[in-house]
């Protein structure tokens, strides 16, 4: 696929942009935060998003989707990133629908995917058990029982964990923490007895929760994918998640940069526009270059998902998440420094970008994690 958007994709991007900027600008996130909204996003907004078909953008037609692919979903995520829009798009669509579509049985697909597309179910992935992303460090257990499995364990920082209807849970059916083998995935309903979610208040005002599973009984039909061999499926879902998240981060970086650039063109100091200072100009160009590089990587990585380029997907996912993380860190820090005093105030929106940046960098592995993985995948 050429690294350029086609007409359909351009249209989707335009639609997404005007929708998000109209209905869910940064101000909306501030409102959710200041009102201590219990859901953490607007259910009305999510209804409108799913009405637009966004939850089915990357889902195959046979399950009610629209087959615009992950490039399409990436464009929507990017636009949401620009406005820091809070919604279950990542948890439910990027992760949930992807995991079910890739690993689910026909029955699972037929029951879950349409519910996701229709906006009736919130799904999420319950994976990490420590403050640092470590997908093989799974201690949570799923023991075989007469009717199915019994789950016990604790998951940390689960996205939308306190409002999810269903969890995709990574648990250990054999082996020990640190091993890839022995990890299995399960679909667990939130109202299943023994499931308890405690919401956390995060710096980015987005949803995360600690979820505990205490003797949670599920049927054998709850298994998603193969027993003991859930890791390759999980890895693929994560790689897609990393790339989708990078698309969201790309939107954030572009918007933060754009706002900074505008500020440089209007703010005066010592009687001249600060954008005329050469040192700031050069630093702005460095940001511009890094963002352009990220654009190419994100587009290439999204295309690789659609092209089912299994061979290059892991390397592209790690390179993209790491590069996007570095760039977003740079841009969010430079933005605050260039906005200076006003950027330090809560009243100004630029700080929201800095706050969301670090959380997005952490999810599914920060730069350290992915540079290490990138090096290993490249054989060094």
């Amino acid at each position: 696929m050429a690294l350029v958007l086609n007409e359909e994709q351009n249209l989707l991007q335009q639609t997404a942009r005007s929708f998000v900027q109209g209905k869910a600008p940064v101000e909306a996130l501030r409102k959710l935060r200041d009102e201590r909204d219990e859901t953490g996003f607007s259910r009305e907004l999510w209804k409108e998003m799913t009405d637009l078909g966004w939850a089915g953008v990357a889902v195959p037609e046979e399950y009610g989707g629209f087959e615009l692919g992950y490039v399409g979903l990436g464009l929507i995520l990017e636009e949401c990133g620009r406005m820091l829009t809070a919604s279950p798009l990542v948890s439910t669509v990027l992760l949930g629908a992807t995991a079910v579509a890739l690993g689910g049985s026909e029955e699972q697909k037929n029951s879950i995917l349409p519910a996701i597309i229709g906006g009736e179910q919130i799904l999420t992935l319950a994976l990490d058990e420590t403050p640092h992303h470590a997908p093989t460090k799974i201690s949570m257990t799923a023991e075989k029982s007469a009717e199915g499995f019994v789950l016990n364990g604790k998951k940390e920082f689960v996205m939308d964990g306190h409002v999810a209807d269903k969890f995709i849970v990574a648990a250990r059916t054999s082996g020990k923490s640190g091993e890839e083998k022995g990890i299995s995935l399960f679909l667990v309903d939130a109202d299943n007895p023994g499931v308890a979610a405690e919401r956390l208040s995060m710096v980015d005002s987005r949803n995360a929760a600690k979820v505990t599973f205490k003797n949670v009984k599920v049927s054998s039909g709850a298994l998603l994918g193969e027993l003991d061999k859930g890791f390759p499926l999980l890895e693929k879902v994560m790689d897609i998640g990393r790339i989708g998240l990078a698309a969201e981060m790309l939107g954030m970086a572009q918007e933060a940069f754009q706002r900074t650039l505008e500020y440089l063109k209007e703010r005066k100091q010592f009687g001249v526009l600060i954008g005329s200072f050469q040192a700031l100009q050069h630093r702005a160009v460095v940001m511009f270059c890094e963002i352009e590089l990220c654009k190419s990587m994100v587009l290439k990585a999204l295309s690789a998902i659609d092209e089912k380029d299994e061979k290059n997907l892991p390397i592209l996912a790690s390179a993209t998440k790491a590069k996007m993380g570095e760039t977003l860190k740079l841009v969010s820090n430079e933005a605050i420094q260039m906005f200076a005093g006003i950027g330090m105030t809560d009243e100004h929106e630029i700080g929201f970008f800095l706050k969301r940046a670090r959380v997005a960098q952490q999810i599914f592995g920060d730069q350290s994690y992915h540079l290490d993985r990138f090096a290993s995948l490249n054989g060094y």
Partner: protein
């Protein structure tokens, strides 16, 4: 020298006997310091005891002249006292911009009356001061201020607005830069005025920061009448006093963040991330942490070298010009690494289990270090011109 060693021994013994245990723990927030003032409250009985004992000992400002209530210690003695306090972990008994900022200017440029009026009140914690320097829209161009003072008999009438006034809503008096001459070059028409904030027409509004805290205010002056006797030094020469104060402030800010740091970054990383084959398990973060600690060591040695130079009578030298710039950038980097080391836990905002977001809030607060008291860019400009002699 034996005298100094004797002083050290006595000081150590006195501190050990008199500093309450709880006053030897690092403070987690500015509220845990005693700021004094008309509405000042002690946060604990220990805090009160500690303040009163130090006040009695005249060690609230140990090196200020004793005639105004200072401790009258020599430089060497003062250094020993600070070293011994640091060794025990003693908190400062009283925090007040009257001590750290206004005091040195007042002692150097103030009239005898002003010194006798203000200094004892500062030391006794009766009056809490704040600083009125920055204005909205002026930013780094500090001298481009427009808050004006017009003469009216024996008074000035002050009108205008200040921003970034630290804790103004809790302060009693403000030392304020005002414009008294608009017809000359901007630096030459500035005066330095002391204002009681209880005067009619003074009002404040806190500014909430990205860290969620509100250490700063906007302060408004609406026809505020101030006696001319509250002018510090001479009219229109305030810029000189302001710069003298700023040079003190910059040194102070470059030290920010070192307070209360008990663990090294490396130790923190090992605790949070663990080791593998004898090395920090995160092999990518490891060299970044090592670089930061290497630079922090180099910076600390450089501050030491500057002090040794000054002590040897060679002056602080060019090197001191970089402290504000380098120190604040270093501190920002340190906190970026701290949140990397903490992972998601470092990004929690509230909750007792997460220390009410202390890690994240501190990280956010450090972003201001390279802005307040002259941005890093301003520092770089100044060093390029004044120290390196590069052309305009």
């Amino acid at each position: 020298m034996p005298d100094l060693e004797k002083f050290r021994a006595e000081t150590r013994a006195w501190l050990e006997a008199n500093c309450p245990e709880s006053m030897r723990q690092p403070a987690r927030s500015s509220e845990e310091y005693y700021w004094g003032g008309r509405n000042g409250k002690f946060a604990s009985e220990d805090q009160k005891i500690w303040f009163e004992r130090m006040l009695e000992k005249r060690w609230i400002a140990p090196h200020w002249p004793s005639e105004y209530g200072g401790g009258g210690l020599s430089k060497d003695e003062n250094k020993i006292l600070l070293e011994e306090m640091r060794r025990l972990g003693c908190r400062p008994p009283h925090t007040n911009f009257g001590i750290t900022m206004l005091g040195p200017v007042l002692l150097k440029y103030g009239s005898e009356e002003q010194k006798r009026e203000h200094i004892p009140k500062i030391l006794r914690g009766e009056i809490r001061w704040c600083q009125g320097y920055s204005e909205p829209g002026a930013g780094s161009d500090l001298a481009g201020l427009s808050c004006k003072a017009e003469p009216d008999g024996d008074d000035y009438i002050i009108n205008g607005q200040k921003i970034w006034t630290s804790y103004a809503e809790k302060a009693d008096w403000i030392f304020n830069l005002v414009r008294t001459d608009t017809t000359v070059q901007k630096q030459k028409g500035i005066s330095f005025v002391l204002i009681d904030m209880a005067t009619p027409g003074v009002s404040t509004r806190p500014i909430k920061l990205i860290s969620g805290n509100s250490p700063f205010c906007e302060t408004f002056f609406d026809n505020v009448r101030v006696p001319k006797s509250n002018l510090l030094g001479k009219e229109n020469e305030g810029w000189t006093y302001a710069k003298y104060l700023l040079s003190h402030e910059r040194e102070m800010i470059s030290g920010i963040g070192d307070q209360g740091v008990t663990k090294t970054l490396g130790e923190l990383a090992v605790e949070r991330i663990g080791k593998q084959d004898g090395k920090l398990a995160d092999s990518v973060l490891r060299p970044e942490i090592a670089k930061l600690e290497m630079n922090a060591l180099a910076f600390q040695l450089t501050v030491e070298r500057a002090k040794d130079q000054a002590k040897a009578g060679q002056g602080l030298g060019d090197v001191a010009s970089m402290f504000k710039y380098y120190g604040t950038e270093l501190n920002k980097n340190r906190h970026e690494l701290i949140i990397s080391v903490a992972g998601m836990e470092g990004l929690v905002w509230e909750g007792e289990e997460y220390n009410e977001g202390y890690t994240a809030r501190t990280w956010l607060r450090t972003k201001g270090n390279s802005i307040e008291g002259g941005t890093s860019e301003i520092q770089l400009n100044v060093i390029a011109k004044r120290v390196l002699g590069l052309p305009s």
